[in-house]
Amino acid sequence: MNIGVYVCECGINIAATVDVGKVVEEAKSLPNVVISRLNKYTCSDPGQESIKKDIIDFNLDRVVVASCSPRMHESTFRSVVEETGVNPYCFEMVNIREHVSWVHSNKEKATLKAIDLVAGAVARAAFLEPLERKEVDVIPKTLVVGGGIAGIQSALEIANNGFQVYLVESSPSLGGRMAQLDKTFPTLDCSACILTPKMVDVARHPKIELLTYSEVEEVGGYIGNFNVKVKKKPRYVDIEKCVGCGLCAEACRLKGKVLNEFDENLSKRSAIYVPFPQAVPLKYTIDPERCNMLKFGKCGSELLCVAACERDAIDFNQEEEIIELDVGTIVVATGFDSFDPSTEKKYGYGESPNVITGMEFERIANAAGPTEGHLEINGKEPKKIVFIQCVGSRDKDGNEYCSRVCCMYTAKQAHMVRDKIPDSEIFVYYTDIRAFGKGFEEFYNRVQNENVIYLRRELNDFIQIVHNGSAVMVKAEGHPDIAADLVVLATGLVPRADSKDFAKTLNISQSADGFFLEAHPKLRPLDTFTDGIFIAGCCQSPKDIPDAVAQASGAAVKATIPLAQGKVVIEAISAVINEDLCSGCRICEKLCAFSALEFDSENKIMKVNDVVCKGCGSCAAACPTGAISMNHFSNKQVIAQIGGILEKRRSLIV
């Protein structure tokens, strides 16, 4: 057994708080260590070369690198040793940066800790065993979850690369939040005009199967072989027959009585509806929460919608359907929710119709919206308009993050007000203007020159909106009160309400703010910790349309890589059963969350399906006879590591 130890300075990242020279010296005296070296940057070319050279010169069969987190560079070094003929599982990494130098300031103590950790790794390395990774075939299909702009972009890119895509959207139509916007900043493109052609492209694409009004219920399997259960909610309309003529909605007894969520509840629709005129697919859906027939089993003396439909498309007997999809990779683009300002009393939202959210403004400003694009509140054109920034963002007691889009959408909306009501007075209460994108600062300057008054206030300064007859009074610390006809709250972006549940379904993580967590904030922003699942758009963090589109294209590329390669390598960390020791008690069988353990009734022992086994080790910890061992985390390896870590310090205890 020849072990090589490589201690990294990581520039000064490690060397400043750990006496790396001493760590190198101490490692030399450890059992089986034949060479111990110091590198400025072990991950750099010279660092990697020194490992490769030593493997040959010293006939190394185990390599230990003490540097950063294995979550950062374990795969780098595994490749290095593999290229030089050492099995990648005979490599061990010690984290002396994230777990030592960056978190301790006492150099003496930090050095001792690093020495102990290296000793643990060397002790463990002696028991490491070469393992073979399995290759499995990849199903050349991708599931894209979410039919907003990010999901649409991803689906089109993947399909254009020649792979089959299933696009699942929970609402009845593609489009997402972007479909609700009137114009986009800073170019003032009409949002629908640039979005709807892409929606049509998706629907027409031969490689995309569109599943609207459907939800992902269950995700099983692993990269290359995910098994997904999708719930298709009943529309109560046969989409093969429906031509989207709308006669049913005209006839509906509840016409003009059901709040229209697409218009942020500012208009009313029928119980049978399409969310908006350019919906894709243009197929009607019956709202099961409101339809009399679905709720009470009858609707007056006759079913007006059924009578109106010339194509006999309405089917009240439709039932929920579960579809199973097999895919190789998954792109998650589930988007965001808007912050609900009614949770903060000071904004007076919900008490007065004169206080609206940014998204409500979009609908009011839109030509297809509740007021056909006329800016009016209760039928009256507002003359004094106040915008308030950072509502639900940058709040140390709430959403601490900046929502990134509100500064610019407020500037855009202020411009739109100026455009529609030239003689209006427009004020914007802001704290800092974040005009960071291409053309943003220029646009902000333009809006300021359009006689939009920007008033600065501190985030924590008092602000209160008081309902006052047909107007509202905006009281802000340090500024004179403004009697406004309209207050627009620049509400921020929050994770979708179902994020937590959906993260569990997908087995991915959330960051502290509740958005989905990327595998690395800088270098793997589109990956999750679950191989084969990628994230794009606002489900990862608030972002504007160009960023969401760029991320979606990136995620699409990531998702097609395994499909193009056709095979993926499966981690070799799995359970192994010592058939001589297994008593066939079947305790492990019930513990396995993945049904990877099966009872061999002929030989009365357990068998492991090592492709299905994910290597958690719950079974190994429970086996009463010690028959189950974990590859790469065997009892011997773990106990040796414990011993190695404690060895040097043990003598200090009297």
């Binding site: 979550r71 984290n95 994230e98 800790k113 290597g615 958690c616 080790g617 974990m630 404690l646």
Partner: protein, 146 residues
């Protein structure tokens, strides 16, 4: 540093952390440069469910003064429910340790998510102080043969 502080008892603690949540949380504490005592030495396992109670006993036998076990929050386990098994196993183990005359407080199980760097630093501070008060582990000791 005074002679007094050098001679002060420095607890030697083994920390078993799951790869997906707690280890990532400890990494986040690092990237966020949160300072905490250097007494916990981390061993990475794929899931807290891998932690055989025997590992904990073995660590105490080999001279550890305490053991920290970190897993994903209930319901967040990367392997669905490995952390629930660990919670039960460690609860039973602590009863057993008490029966053997070993302070059960030497063993602590905690949930740290990948986003909770701050919590990880706090947990390390707490367990280090707790073990410092309990004092060195003297009851059981074994030397491994391998």
């Amino acid at each position: 540093m005074t002679v007094e502080t050098i001679q002060e008892f420095e607890p030697n603690i083994i920390g078993f952390l799951c790869n997906w949540c707690s280890y990532a949380g400890a990494d986040l504490a690092g990237t966020s440069r949160m300072q905490y005592p250097p007494n916990v030495k981390i061993i990475r396992v794929m899931c807290s469910g891998r932690i055989n109670p025997m590992f904990v006993v073995n660590a105490l036998q080999q001279g550890a003064d305490g053991v920290l076990i970190g897993g994903c929050h209930p319901g967040d386990c990367h392997y669905q429910h490995g952390n629930y098994f660990t919670r039960r196993r460690i609860t039973i183990l602590k009863n057993l340790l008490e029966f053997l005359g070993i302070e059960p407080e030497r063993v602590r199980m905690t949930w740290v998510s990948a986003a909770e760097g701050r919590k990880f630093a706090e947990v390390v501070e707490e367990i280090t102080e707790d073990i410092r008060k309990i004092g060195p582990m003297k009851q059981i000791r074994r030397v491994n043969e391998w």
